[in-house]
């Protein structure tokens, strides 16, 4: 097991792309993956997740920067010498071999003696719960058992420094996804491998990982715990991508104490105001954005009480969708659309207002969170 340091790493697929706007599939970045961590790499399709993963495993050589394992430069090492395990989107098994032979395959290739191989294989079979199918041909298994074998070929090796997963549950039945993910989590807790798990599914990422790395358009936008990503997204993309529905992001200006959305003042909390002043945002009158989670908004009756409350503003209700336990209420503030959650069955007021929490109302400049530095 190892910590992985991607040092000033960037990748362009072709040198001839230099002329176009952004030639990078992966923008230059510097990122450390700590030893024994369970990371999820989350982002929409085509954002560079798989490119990043293949660079770590050595299937792809980065066009710039270095890859360090425990401080040792492995950029020029081949995949097999890096001692990385990787599980792919589609399960890879060696059809003609049995389950046990499949697991023994990476050990045989490395010339281990048969007694050690046998011990390791039977231990791995137990770990995966495949003992009873050890002597069956791998091709006769169903997709999730095949995917377990793909994983098992990584677990069977004692020298493996990290296990990489490239959307491993894509072909797995929905009811087995949850089960397999739980098993992965258990294996991680028990054996402490460094794991990096690529997915575009936020539920998968948030349940599997201690640390989630959110990527978009070839850049890492934020690294944090699921709670951090939810409560304090540092980029508007993170806010809208994580959460269902995503964060409301509204255009606004900053008047020195509050975000002003189409003439409506939303007072901000102390820390945000200080940070915004530090950046001189009040004087410049630049266009900013304010972010509010639908979960932080409360729909109330626009009456006398809300008119006096500075943390309430009037909105127009334009639609209601039933989500089961909640209703999703689509609203309009000035010219901009936003949504809020409302308890199932509770009445939607005719004249509605929203009560917001300044502590959970965030300010963004050029998509980046305005917060105290350090």
């Amino acid at each position: 097991m190892a910590s992985i340091h991607l040092k000033n790493l960037g990748h362009r697929y072709s040198a001839s792309d230099a002329g176009i706007d952004n030639p990078y599939a992966l923008n230059p970045l510097d990122q450390v993956w700590e030893d024994g961590g369970a990371y999820a790499l989350l982002g929409p399709s085509g954002c560079g997740k798989t490119t990043l993963l293949n660079i770590i495993s050595g299937l792809l050589r980065p066009s710039e920067g270095r890859v360090l394992f425990d401080g040792e430069d492995v950029t020029d090492l081949s995949t097999e010498r890096r001692n990385i395990a990787q599980v792919f989107q589609f399960p890879v098994v060696y059809d003609t071999l049995t389950v046990a032979e499949n697991l023994a395959f990476p050990l045989r290739n490395r010339g281990m003696d048969s007694a050690t191989i046998e011990a390791r294989v039977s231990e791995t079979l137990t770990m995966l719960g495949l003992e009873r199918r050890a002597n069956e041909r791998a091709r006769s298994l169903n997709a999730d058992d095949k995917q377990k074998i793909s994983l098992g070929r990584g677990l069977v090796r004692t020298d493996v420094r990290a296990i990489l997963f490239d959307e491993p549950l894509t072909v797995i039945d929905p009811h087995l996804k949850w089960q397999l993910r739980t098993e992965l989590k258990k294996i991680h807790e028990r054996y402490g491998h460094t794991m990096i798990y690529v997915t575009h599914d936020q539920t998968e990422a948030l349940t599997f990982a201690d640390k989630v790395v959110v990527m978009n358009a070839g850049s890492i936008l934020q690294v944090g715990s699921p709670k951090e990503l939810f409560d304090r997204p540092r980029h508007t993309f993170v806010g809208t991508f994580i959460g269902s529905p995503g964060m409301n992001v509204l255009r606004c200006i900053f008047d020195g104490e509050a975000a002003v959305v189409d003439g409506v003042r939303l007072p901000l909390d102390e820390a945000t105001i200080i940070a915004a002043h530090a950046r001189g945002l009040a004087a410049s009158g630049v266009s900013l954005e304010v972010g509010m989670r639908p979960e932080s908004l409360v729909l109330v009756d626009a009456g006398a009480s809300s008119a006096d409350d500075p943390h309430c503003f009037n909105v127009d209700v334009i639609g209601v969708e039933d989500l089961g336990r909640h209703s999703l209420v689509r609203l309009r503030l000035g010219q901009q659309l936003l949504c809020a959650l409302h308890p199932e069955g509770a009445e939607i007021p005719e004249a509605a207002a929203l009560r917001f929490d300044p502590a959970r109302t965030l300010l963004y400049e050029s998509s980046l969170l305005v917060e105290a530095i350090g």
């Binding site: 395990a85 990787q86 792919f88 989107q89 059809d95 003609t96 395959f105 990476p106 041909r137 070929r153």
Partner: protein, 294 residues
């Protein structure tokens, strides 16, 4: 509700007629000849299995059969591994792919008798590029007089003509293997041989079976090329079953023995093809039966 009538037979009828005209009637004609004898004037006598016994006991048939078996064995032993090797070495992307595919397809487009003529001329000691070239190097090569030279010429000719078929079939199997298998193999530290043995070979097994069957049947029935190049000689050294059969049927007009031999020939091809098929698919069947247990 089930309709009780025989209308379905009307649907089958055209196909039945087609098969009858193209296969059953000619085959039955041969069966008819094989159990009778004639002295001309369209008079036939029933002889039962006499011709079959005669053919099976004759040394001429045994020799021709052995030659044909040896020829097919050599063809398979050379063309299958060579075809796989070339397919593995072929490029997977870029302009070179089209170039290689066209190059490979060229020999397959040449008619059999033209192939025979090309090699007949190519190998001649007086004017042929190959024959004359070898002679000027001081190598004593003459396919019309030396048995070994005649065999070598026929085998090299067939390898030149038909290895492409094996290559193209294997190549189609190889390019259909998803890239992720090779990536997984690199993760697992597999050697080049292990990749071939555990990924590529299992994935091309089906097309390889077709290649083996086609090359076996074609080489076992080879007629035109040896007829054009060596005419079955020197002596009888390249007289394969097909050449022998034509000599018997057309040359000597022994219709009865020729018909009996045709049927035996047909049954041998059928039997050996079945053996190849059974052996090569046995692995698949193993896996299926195991799957059936669950």
């Amino acid at each position: 509700m089930k309709v009780q009538n025989n209308k379905a037979w009307l649907m089958v009828l055209p196909m039945l007629l087609l098969v009858a005209v193209s296969a059953i009637i000619p085959l039955m004609t041969v069966v008819n000849y094989s159990v009778q004898d004639t002295f001309g004037n369209n008079e036939f006598f029933w002889v039962g299995t006499e011709w079959f016994q005669e053919v099976l006991a004759s040394e001429r048939f045994h020799n021709a059969l052995q030659r044909t078996l040896l020829f097919s064995a050599l063809i398979l032993a050379i063309e299958i591994p060579l075809g796989i090797a070339i397919a593995l070495a072929m490029p997977r992307r870029g302009i070179a792919v089209s170039f290689c595919l066209v190059l490979m397809a060229l020999p397959l487009l040449i008619p059999w008798n033209v192939v025979g003529t090309i090699w007949q001329v190519f190998g001649r000691v007086d004017i042929g590029l190959l024959g004359h070239g070898l002679a000027s190097l001081g190598i004593d090569y003459n396919y019309t007089q030396n048995t070994l030279d005649a065999w070598a010429t026929l085998i090299i000719m067939d390898v030149w003509h038909w290895t492409s078929l094996v290559v193209l079939l294997c190549y189609s199997g190889l390019v259909s293997i998803p890239e992720v298998y090779y990536q997984a193999a690199r993760i697992d530290g597999a050697s080049r041989w292990a990749i071939f043995r555990f990924i590529q070979l299992p994935k091309i097994k089906r097309v390889l079976l077709i290649a083996v069957l086609l090359r076996f049947m074609d080489s076992f029935m080879i007629y035109t090329e040896p007829f054009v190049v060596t005419g079955g000689g020197p002596g009888n050294s390249t007289t394969f079953l097909s050449i022998d059969l034509v000599q018997m049927a057309v040359g000597q007009f022994d219709l009865g023995p020729a018909a009996a031999m045709s049927l035996i020939y047909f049954l041998i091809i059928l039997l050996l093809s079945w053996v190849f098929y059974t052996v090569m698919t046995s692995l698949d069947n193993d896996a299926t039966s195991e799957q059936g247990r669950h």
